[in-house]
Each structure stands twice: as C-alpha cells, then as structure tokens.
C-alpha cells in the first residue's frame, strides 16, 4: 500500500510515524514544502521518500501525487485544504483524507463558524460581532470592553488578542491597546489574505480550562479521540505570548484530570451537530479530521473557541504511544465510508506528555529565531523512553536549521503525568542550537502543580456553570440597565 502525507511539521511527523507502524506495511511518501528530517526518515525507512514542492499549489501537488499514485492521501495542515489541494486530488479520483476547501471553511472563516452555530442554535457558542469595514471595526473595539479580538480568517494560529477588561481603572489603557492592535492586525495579518471579505471578529471573552477534542469522520460516523490539553502560553507558569502550542497532555483514557465524562459527551455532541449542519450547508461529505478547540467556561460549560479541519499540533503527537489502533486502517475505512464498524483502542493505563522546544524569538520574532543550526541526540532521548518529532527544522546540505517555529516535539508516556513530565524535561538538553542561540520549553507542562491548578480552575468553573444551568441561565442572559429596563439575550 502506498500513502501520501502532505505537510511539513510536527503534526505530519506524528501522523507519518503512526501510519508507518501499520500492519498494512505502507510505503510512505511525504510531500513537503521543505525537507523535515523526521519526515524524511520515516518516509525512507518505509521504502517511500520525501518530495518537496509548494504544498499550497494544488496543481503542483497533483503532479507529485500522480508520480506516486498512492492508495490514500492524508492532508495534514489546514492551508493546503484552504487552497483546494484536497479538492484537486479528489477530483482526480484519489482517496483523500482531509477536508475539502468548502468544508474547511469551518476553520478558515471564524465568522462562518459562529454564524453556523448561531443559525442552527448549537450549544457552546459565544456572542460575536464581525466586521468587513476597517474603520467600523476600530470604532467598535475601542468601546467593546471585555472581549477577544480575532482575525476573521485562520492565520496559522496567529493574531488572537485576549484582553480581560474588568478593572474600570485600567480600562482606558486597554481600550487603546485594542484599537492599536486591531489596526496592526488588519494591516500586518489580514492584508495578506484576499480569500475572505471579513476582516475582524470580536467575541465575548470567557475564562476557564481549554481542551481539544479531535474526531475522525467519514461523513456518517464521528469517531472521537481522547481529549488533549494544549498549553498556548510560551513560558512556564502560563506566562508569555500565545504560541501554536508549547506542549500537551492526554489521558488517562478519553478524559483529562479536569474534564468529566458528561462534559466530554457534551463536547462530542457539539462537534457531531456541527458536522451534520456543516455537511448540509456545504452539500459535501466530510472525510478527515474535525477538531473542537473547546473551553469549559463558567458561562456555558463546554464552549467552542474554534474549530480545526485537521489534527491539532502538537495535540496529535500525544497519541503516538497511547492510541493502540492501526491509524492507517482507520483512515482507509474513513475514505471509503466504512467508519461505523471501527472501535478505537486506547491505552487506559497510560498518560502522555508532549513538549515543544523552541528557539528564542518564537512566536513573535521568528526572523531572529530562524536559521540556527540544530543538533538532536536522538539516541539519548530514546534512552529515556521518549520520542522526538521534528517540527520547524529544515535539512540543508545534511545539516539541520531552525525555520523560526517550534524545533522539535518531545513525546513520552507512562503511568503518571508528573513522572512523564520530568522524563521529558531530561531530554530537552539533547536538543541544542550549536551556535549558542537560546532555546526554551515549558518545564511545568504535566507537572502535579500545574494539573492541580487546572483542576481547581475547572472546579470553580463547573460550580458556576452548574449554578447557571440550575437557574435556567444557560440559555438566556439577563441584563438590566437602571432607568431603561431589562434586556434578555436568547442563547437557546
């Protein structure tokens, strides 16, 4: 069997690694924008190879795929989906695992996603306002109060600004930041995209505990995978700017220590309902991965922050030890619409931890983070029982260089989060920029202290949303302006 994996990051390295273990003994071909050493190794070991081309160019990718003539194509990242790579290949008769460009709108356009959820009254949705006009957007955010500002289009996870505005005495400073930030966002980020009319999305801000629910679907059946929690803050103690994800924890089983069975089921129900209406609206079958970036909030309980039309990165890397199922077989069944009979096997006895090692400068100053020579002592990492997945690393003339993003993901599994976390920490020293450039990672991901803090936050949030539900406040929000009257917002 021949498989093509499109993509070049840590996520694709994890997917390719899992596919390579299949009993179907596939030859893996990777189509990448650059030579990722991890992907190259997996491909070559399987008897396949790594091919470089512009993965956003549907015609170019098609030519490369034709050369391989694979049985299945797996599209890893969202941008090739947005650029019609899945459409092109499907049109040529290939079995493609990855959302079509129209279905991938659920990730690409944050306005489309919110509109869909509101139109079909799907639970877990937040109030929002979308803008096509720049000056209107700027005027609005100046007075918007406690909100989140997002680019209207998925922009590689960049550009979201969360500004808690609860202290009236600091409000004027925050209003200024919102306005300045919006200007910058529209000129620096949104101006690159001509494939969307909306510029800006402003959402009500919520607090709570985030988690990712990734699901595989063939359009008929939704197969939820175990919950994973990512850590977006760059630095320890949840400090620092938002990144693509500094690492993630998963387990035991399908749940996380701070998400209960009922909340998991509710989350699955939300994704299921979105999948159904999305297919209705678009008029196509969804074959691939649909992920809910969720948050347990005091406002609503399980709440949708964003949708992904692919696996989360680094979240999918958690499964390399704990998903005890032949992933290629699952994907093979998904592309042929036979997912209904699939039962996933998940290692209930293990928990897993992923940590990214990053060059200084990531995520906000990638120019200085790029081009540093990297060495990785894979043998020592494996001696600790950990695996290394390559992310933002490029192989040039036999040497590895940073691309400015996360360098590698270190993955480990075991019985206890704290122990596994410490084991991963020991491996970090085996990843180095040989020119002395600083690297960083999150020591605290998976530690007992951090998980305890999440449990405490989740308890507070759970109390609050349970109260709201008890008072019938999960479907309405009551506001009263003294002297003017009562306003009721319908969330039902």
């Amino acid at each position: 069997m021949k498989v093509v994996v499109v993509g070049d990051g840590g996520r694709e390295n994890a997917i390719a690694l899992m596919l390579s273990r299949s009993s179907l003994e596939p030859k893996i071909y990777v189509i990448s924008s650059h030579v990722n050493p991890g992907l190259k190794k997996v491909a070559e070991r399987s008897g396949g190879k790594l091919i470089t081309c512009d993965i956003l160019n549907r015609k170019e990718v098609k030519v490369r795929v034709d050369e391989v003539s694979p049985d299945v194509v797996v599209i890893g990242p969202e941008e090739p989906q947005f650029h019609g790579v899945s459409d092109e290949l499907r049109g040529c008769g290939y079995a493609v695992f990855g959302a079509s460009s129209k279905l991938a709108e659920i990730e690409k356009s944050k306005v489309f996603m919110r509109e869909l959820m509101w139109r079909y009254r799907i639970p877990g949705r937040l109030a929002y306002k979308a803008f096509t006009d720049v000056s209107q957007a700027i005027e609005y955010v100046g007075n918007a109060g406690d909100v989140v500002i997002k680019p209207a289009r998925q922009a590689g996870g960049k550009g979201v600004k969360v500004i808690a505005d609860l202290q009236a005495y600091l409000s004027d400073v925050k209003s200024r930041v919102r306005v300045d930030y919006t200007r910058k966002l529209i000129s620096d980020v949104m101006s690159h995209y001509v494939d969307i009319d909306y510029k800006l999305l402003v959402e009500e801000r919520v607090e709570g505990v985030e988690y990712t629910l990734m699901c595989i679907t063939d359009g008929y059946t939704l197969l939820p995978l175990p919950l994973v929690q990512d850590h977006p803050h760059a630095f320890d103690n949840d400090l620092g700017p938002e990144t693509g994800g500094m690492g993630s924890i998963q387990g035991p089983g399908y749940l996380l220590p701070f998400i209960n069975e009922g909340e998991f089921r509710e989350s699955v129900d939300i994704v299921e309902r979105v999948l159904k209406v999305l297919q209705e609206v678009v008029g196509e079958r969804y074959v691939g991965v649909l992920s809910g970036q969720m948050m347990l909030t005091s406002l609503l309980g399980p709440t949708v922050i964003e949708f992904y039309s692919r696996f989360g990165d680094p979240e999918v890397s958690n499964y390399i030890y704990t998903l005890d199922t032949d992933l290629l077989e699952v994907i093979d069944r998904a592309v042929s619409g036979r997912l209904a009979s699939v039962k996933l096997r998940v290692r209930e006895d293990l928990v897993s931890v992923v940590k990214a090692v990053c060059p200084r400068g990531y995520p906000n100053n990638r120019k200085v983070a790029k081009g540093h020579p990297v060495v990785v002592d894979e043998k020592s990492i494996r001696n600790y029982g950990c695996e290394v997945l390559y992310a933002g690393v490029e192989l040039i003339n036999g040497s590895m260089y940073t691309t400015g993003s996360r360098i590698v993901e270190l993955v480990c599994a075991g019985e206890d989060f704290d122990e596994v976390s410490k084991r991963v920490n020991k491996c970090v020293e085996f990843v180095k920029c040989v020119d002395g450039w600083d690297t960083f990672y999150r020591r605290d991901i998976g530690t007992k202290d951090l998980i305890m803090r999440r449990v405490m936050t989740a308890d507070i949030v759970r109390n609050a949303y349970t109260y709201r539900r008890g008072k019938g406040l999960s479907t309405i929000k009551v506001d009263w302006i003294p002297g003017k009257g009562v306003i009721t917002y319908d969330y039902s």
């Binding site: 500004i163 930041v177 930030y181 949840d238 400090l239 400068g361």
Partner: protein, 433 residues
C-alpha cells in the same frame, strides 16, 4: 524599600505606567514613598516621590512611557539611598531596586554587572556571577534599557516575592500577591528563596543563584503579623487565615472575663474575629477612622505617628461605655497606640475594664535585615517588665502569644519562620548586627 512591583508586557503596544501606578497603590501598606523606572526598549526613565502626592495627582506617572517597568515603595524610616541605583555606560542603562538588606552597596552590584555585560556576558550570566558573591537578606528587581527584567529573592528567603500573569500580555512581579490581583492578573507562584526570574518580551526563565554552604530559609514573621495586607497570599499561605488562627490561639490562653471584643483597625481585625469566636463574645466595630489611611507603625516622626493614631481611632461610645473590653492588636511596639486609646476610653467614655490582647510575641530587638522594627531602646517589651508595661499603658492586663505558639501554627503549614525580633538572635545569616 518595603515593596516591589515589576511589570513586563510581551507586546510593545502596552504602556504600563498606569499599571505601575495601581501596583504601587496596592503596595501602599508597605511604604509612603515610591520610585518607578520604566523602559521603552531604548532608554530608562524614572520618577519618585511621596505616594500621597501620587494619589492627589494620579496622572503624574503618565509622563513616563514604557512597556517594561519596575517600581517600589519604601517607608520614611527606610532610606532610598542604598536601595535604588541607576547606571549608564555607553548607551547601556541599568537600574536596581532592593527590598531588604544588602551587604555592600547596590551601586557596587550595578557596577560589577555593567562590567561583565561589557565583557560580553548575557545579562542572566552576569547577574548570577555577581549575585552569588553578595550576601544579604533581600528581594531585588533589575531593569535595563533592552527591556530585560530580573527579579530575585535572596537565599535566606526572608522577603517575599511573587510572580503573576495577565493573559498573554503581561508578566507581573510583586512583593505581596495583592498588586497582582489589583492589576487584573493571576498569582502563579511564589519566587523561591535563591531563585531568580528573568523576564524579557521574548524569553522568561527561572533559575537559581548557587550558594556556598547551607542556609536556613525562613520568612519574616512580621510579614504575616503586621506588614502584609489581609488579602495577600504569601508563599502559598493566606495571611488572613494566619491572623485569625493567632486570634483563636489568644482566645484559648486569655484568662479574664469581658463583655465585648474590639479589634484595632485594620490589621488586628482578623485577630479579633478569631479571638471573639473562641470567647463566644460579640466582636464590636469600636473605632472609626478619619481621613486618609496611614500605617502608623512605619511612620518615622513621633508626632506624625501620634496624629495618625488619633485620627484613625475615634472610639464608638456605645461599644465602650460601662463595659469590660478586650482590645486586640497585632503587635505592641512602643505601646503608643494602646496607651492613647485607653486614656480616652477611661477618661471620656467610662470603660469598666480594658484588657489588652496582642497577637504576637514580645518584641525584644530590632531587625538586622531592615524590616521596620524600631531600635531596641524604643521597644516597650524590651525595656519594661510585664507589670510595668501594664501600668504604663494603664490596662487591666496584657496578654501576649509565645514564640513557640506562633512557630507551631506556622510549622503545621510547613513554614519556617524568622523570629529574630522575638528571640534576639538572627535565624538567618547575612544580616548586620
């Protein structure tokens, strides 16, 4: 310096001067004067003065702009000199603020840092190299004009220091946890003794400054007893809970019968709550203050102290008239508060009995580490016998806690205390005698 505040924005869009203003306001309990240094990534600008002036004209800090800043408050008895320094060399600017006692001079630390930086050391490397040779009992904040900040809590750990965050945008450092909350942030951890936190817009790291030999870690008892706000959490322990428990302990050892309990505002209120609960007596709101809140114990001038006491303690007639009263205070320093209150209660309000209850052990010596405890010859319990003390303040009795009782309460929470001012010896090294 009595209290430190550090703010680093990860995004240059922020101007943190207003955050600094409210951070200092939330540290006002630790000192009346302030100094602020802000960086815009190009140069450092600083301003300082009396915090009450800042209160009257709250926009004066707006003159400063920057997305990174450090600041501190200090009391009148303390001196800024030796706690703050600014250096500049060839376009490289550096500023340091210290809370506590440093063996040597801050200026000298700054000079040595500059020298190493000039030799090509990274800031953190230079810091560790210099600080490992500096003895003392202190917390420190450093800022340079490259938007780098280092926060450090010296090895003995006497001075608290806390780390917090606001969303994806700010890292916050403060002596107490309160300024972090007031700035809308979330307390993330206590900086451990001997630990430094390096914060710049593109990197945050935590590390340890190596030490030679074994050092006892101990946090200052006075932080919990008097210095910190009730709403602070220091090294993971709620200050309020400690004060209430100490009040309960006092209630158990109190030997007299009273009609009502009154706490001296504001520090002693949780003590009085715990005390009244054990006694099963009413806690009354007995004193009303006039004008701006002041912390009398840290005022340097005796006349100012007296004015402060009189203005904050106007008694409520209904509470005291004809009753037997227990007055609870957190500590007895010079006895001035208690004495002036009792005079009014006896002479003007006709109180029947006044029993003084103190939520801490007897203070017998000053603090070698620069905490605001007056010299030994100004401490009532270091100079007067119990019998004489009762006569001097004209009370019916005075009840103290013992050092053992206080230590026991803390050790049950896993805390190690410095009780030098109650025992007369230094529990941690590095102080001046």
């Amino acid at each position: 310096m009595g209290g430190l505040v550090g703010i680093v924005a990860f995004d240059e869009l922020w101007n943190v001067s207003k955050f600094m203003y409210y951070g200092l306001l939330a540290s006002h309990n630790r000192g009346d004067n302030y100094v602020v240094v802000l960086s815009n990534g190009r140069n450092l600008k600083s301003v300082g003065g009396d915090i009450t002036h800042l209160l009257l004209n709250k926009d004066s800090l707006d003159l400063l702009e920057g997305y990174v800043g450090i600041g501190g408050v200090y009391s009148q008895v303390d001196r800024l000199e030796g706690k703050y320094t600014y250096l500049s060399d060839n376009g490289y600017e550096l500023s340091l603020l210290v809370d506590g006692y440093v063996d040597g001079s801050v200026l000298d630390i700054g000079r040595r840092l500059l020298k190493l930086v000039n030799l090509g050391y990274k800031l953190v490397e230079a810091f560790v190299e210099v600080i490992k040779g500096v003895r003392g009992v202190y917390s420190l904040l450093l800022i340079n004009n490259k938007s780098e900040v280092i926060a450090y809590r010296s090895v003995p750990g006497l001075t608290p220091l806390h780390l917090g965050g606001y969303g994806f945008d700010l890292a916050l450092i403060a002596t107490e946890s309160v300024p972090i909350n007031i700035l809308g942030g979330e307390l993330r951890s206590a900086v451990k003794p001997g630990e430094y936190v390096y914060i710049s817009p593109d990197l945050v790291t935590v590390g340890e400054v190596p030490t030679d030999g074994v050092v006892n870690h101990a946090i200052c008892t006075f932080e919990y007893i008097y210095m910190a706000r009730h709403d602070s959490v220091l090294d993971g322990i709620d200050v309020y809970s400690i004060r209430k428990s100490l009040g309960e302990e006092l209630g158990r050892r109190f030997e007299y019968d009273v009609d009502v309990v009154v706490g001296v505002p504001e520090t002693a209120i949780p003590y009085a709550l715990g005390f009244a609960k054990v006694l099963g007596k009413d806690l009354e709101y007995g004193f009303i203050s006039t004008g701006v809140k002041v912390r009398t114990a840290i005022k340097g001038d005796p006349l100012e102290r007296l004015i402060g006491i009189q203005l904050k303690l106007n008694p409520v007639r209904y509470v005291f008239s004809g009753r037997r009263v227990a007055i609870v205070d957190d500590s007895l320093v010079r006895g001035l508060t208690v004495k002036s209150v009792i005079q009014i209660l006896r002479n003007k309000l006709g109180v029947k009995e006044v029993h003084v209850v103190i939520g801490s052990p007897k203070l017998i010596t000053n603090c070698p580490y620069g905490k605001e405890i007056p010299p030994k010859d100004e401490l009532l319990t270091a100079n007067l016998s119990d019998e004489l003390a009762v006569k001097y303040v004209e009370a019916d009795s005075i009840t103290w806690l013992s050092v053992d009782e206080v230590s026991k309460l803390f050790s049950s929470s896993g805390m190690n205390l410095c009780t030098g001012c109650f025992l007369g010896g230094c529990l941690v090294r590095g102080g001046r005698s």
